[in-house]
Amino acid sequence: MEEKYIKHRYDPILPSKDEWPVVKLARERKEFIKKVSDKSQERILNLTNHNPDILKEELETTLYREKLRVKQNPWVVDPDDESSFWNKVKESLLQVNSESKLSKADRLKEYQEVLQRITSRYSEEIASNFKHHHYKFTRSVVAFGFSRLLNAARVKGFRSIFSNQYSLQDKIQITGETDQLRDLATKGTVVMVPTHFSNLDSILIGWTISVLGLPPFIYGAGLNLFNISIFAYFMDALGAYKVDRRKKNLMYLETLKTYSKEAIQFGCHSLFFPGGTRSRSGMIESKLKLGLLSTAIEAQRANYQKGIKDVSGKVFIVPVTINYHFVLEAPSLIQDYLSITGQERYYKENDEFSTSYKISKFLVKFFTKGSDISVSVGKAMDVLGNYVDENGNSLDKQGRTIETQDYFISNGAVSVDSQREEEYSNLLGKRIVEEFHKINRVFSSHLVAFTAFEMIKSMNQKLDLFDLIRLPEEDIFLPYDEFKAACQMVYDRILELKKEGLINIAPHMKRGMDEIIAHGLSNVGMYHAKRPLIRNKDGFIVTEDMSLLYFYHNRLDGYGLEKLFQ
């Protein structure tokens, strides 16, 4: 079944939109925000031990950082009353500080009042603005617009723009455990965790979810995306809540986590990009941001605490990988990565997604020329990373049914232990990374980029990565025959790994090696001004951009394939 791409549109699992958790949540938005705000306060009070002095310190830190942010890093999306809000917070804090006669309990109460204003502001800011008619509209725009473009490009002739010969599903292939996902989404709550390489991922996943007949998932999208109006519209419509990465203060982070946890408990299927941001290096994420992941674990435990032991209260983690031949942002991502790793002295920000014009240009290119994308859906797991069966029961490695609740039990009862749950988040993170590698689908472009880069590396063994990337591109020639043999060697090893279930390959990889290479060369980073890998007129394999080659090579990092070249 894994060979077959899903070409039909599934029926919705919940036909009536009123049953969609995200619609219910939108209806109860006000109450929900209040609840999030209250629970966040509770958490923060617990974290500060209900001690007014510690709370005061946290409030002051938050105030200081927020004022600094308002001054130094303002964004278009920021509300106009930001500085007045924080000035008022400042006044209130000063006032409490000056009243020296207050008892400890009274001071706590006063600070709590300030805290309450902050958490309710944050909750309101984070909360999604899902509107069903917007969602429907966006979904049809995406599907209609994209398929028009697609048909215009592929079917020649007048009126081809109205042809329906190609659909988006020819372009974007969805593979893997889609039936299980649909099934479990009707039984419990799904948390989808995809790899993240491009800003397009959110839209792509949103579209995938709708093709699979699933109700919209809520997800945390970077607030910076809301700066661009076209994105803001899409995001709101898809049930996005806002994550502001500029705000690293305790109050904000706790409110954000509470929002996510409460939404999962509410039954909203959620989407986290567990890598946090787009993968700068092009490698599959190996260290995950565990903050949001931990909210899935917390929500699961909270359901057990409430006595919801059946599958309706169960949280399922579904890893997803998205595979591209071409990542639009690759040049700036890899520059970021190299400068973060420390060697490049000059770091200039250059975000290809900064204007709507560039995005539209990309979309036109993307849909009019061939560059396939595949989305592979992994097996569902419980919050500890155990696979689950069709009824949502967790299984151990021998296939025995186990109770996920037992992970939260001590002395015979479900207990809250934040240190334990922190460790569980680590374990879950590791399991997700493992699954990412297993369901990752190798494309021809990954193979050629990996092989070429490793060949160049082994010819220049004395150079470190940064010197390697600075090699003059015009001095690099790979004879085709050697290149082909090396590709074959990597390919054979990939097939071995596939047999062990440790990786997967796309169907276009089942041709002769010459064809695979030709396919790979014509697709790898195909729309970049400088191509990462081409065959020149003398038949040599050459690169126009070593950093980009490195970026696309990285997709196959983490499998030990580089050892083939030692």
Binding site: N411, G412, R420
Partner: protein, 353 residues
């Protein structure tokens, strides 16, 4: 779940394995809790239940023995695994079907297991990578659904513990609750229990110190004095630090109770099996002769083999381990090994802090 009916006051604690250390731990636990011990052989179980002793070791009268893994897993939420590393994997596999995620396991085994593909063993594979060797906590996590795992390590010579002499131990776990539970169950006027979150570092400390203990026994067997022992312990610790680091343990654990604490105790004790191996080697016996009449295994011998194979894949040098390997398995004379080590260029006293 069978555990719903139990309340915490009569909670039972399980001990798997009744060797000298297992028996000592069971007796210490029995001072506070109801203890069930597991032994594989029915005759051992019978002896314990009827005579309250096994192989000459007295057991607390309240201790019940069983050879049924299912029953002990049902009865106990906390289990102490104290079986030799050579049989550890097998015992854990036998227990796996009856273990649930609510179980807590603390082990007291100071050895390593191999995790090799297919039919391979150490004879066919001369080199092993880190991923191919497992500490006992890694075995438990690999074979069972139990995640809340801890280990017990420190200067805990069974003979002294069973006499009730004062001592201390480290309970290491990533989970605070495991440490707290270990402390609650074991702590007494005569027994202090420290906590450490670096479980791999603590396990490795206990494992690696056995190598140095063999070497120490050898020095004693050669009739060398305290200067030589001081030299060995200090160089041994440096070697342990580097090995532990390469295997994923922290430096701090090695200089703690489970590392240097245990090292000093074992390197001075004729009651240590590892020390005895070295001592008898120096007196001219062969490894085979020594092993044939030892009642329980000296973990250090196997550890030397495994670490030697690991060294083949890393660019680390561990002169004490490497020379001990040659003495144990390649007929290098102890005197020659000592001679070699005295010439080895350890120029820097301490290079890890």
């Amino acid at each position: 779940m069978g555990m719903d009916s139990k309340n915490s006051s009569n909670k039972k604690v399980g001990v798997v394995g009744v060797g000298s250390f297992g028996a000592a731990i069971a007796n210490m636990l029995a001072e506070k809790s109801n203890v069930i011990v597991y032994a594989r052989k029915p005759e051992v179980v019978e002896e314990i239940n009827e005579k309250h002793e096994t192989q000459g070791r007295k057991l607390n009268h309240s201790i019940i023995a069983t050879f049924d893994p299912e029953w002990i897993c049902e009865q106990c939420e906390v289990l102490f695994f104290v079986v030799p590393s050579s049989g550890f994997q097998e015992v854990v596999r036998n227990f796996a079907p009856f273990l649930h995620p609510y179980h807590l396991i603390i082990h007291g085994t100071k050895g390593l297991c191999l995790n090799l593909p297919g039919e391979h063993d150490l004879n066919s594979l001369r080199k092993i990578k880190r991923s191919q060797l497992l500490t006992m906590s890694e075995v438990i996590q690999k074979e069972t659904v139990v995640v809340r795992v801890g280990c017990l390590a420190g200067p805990n010579l069974s003979k002294e513990l069973s006499k009730g002499q004062p001592a201390a131990t480290v309970v290491a776990s990533k989970f605070n609750e495991v440490i707290l539970e270990g402390q609650r169950l074991l702590r007494s006027d005569k027994f202090q229990v420290y906590g450490n979150s670096d479980i791999i570092g603590v396990e490795l400390s206990g494992v690696l110190k056995n190598i140095i203990a063999i070497a120490s026994g050898a020095l004693a067997g050669l009739g060398l004095g305290e200067n030589a022992r001081g030299l060995l312990i200090s160089r041994g610790m440096v070697e342990m630090v580097h090995l532990s680091n390469a295997l994923g343990g922290g430096v701090r654990s090695v200089i703690g109770l489970a590392g240097i604490g245990d090292l000093v105790a074992t390197c001075n004790s004729v009651d240590s099996r590892n020390f005895t191996v070295g001592f008898r080697l120096a007196k001219g016996e062969t490894l085979e002769e020594i092993q044939s009449d030892m009642e329980e295994v000296a973990e250090g011998i196997n550890t030397v083999r495994i670490i030697k194979a690991f060294l083949e894949t890393s660019d680390l040098r561990a002169p004490i381990t490497e020379n001990l390997y040659r003495v144990l398995f390649e007929d290098l004379k102890i005197e020659d090994a000592l001679h070699f080590l005295m010439k080895y260029p350890f120029n820097v006293d301490v290079d890890f802090v």
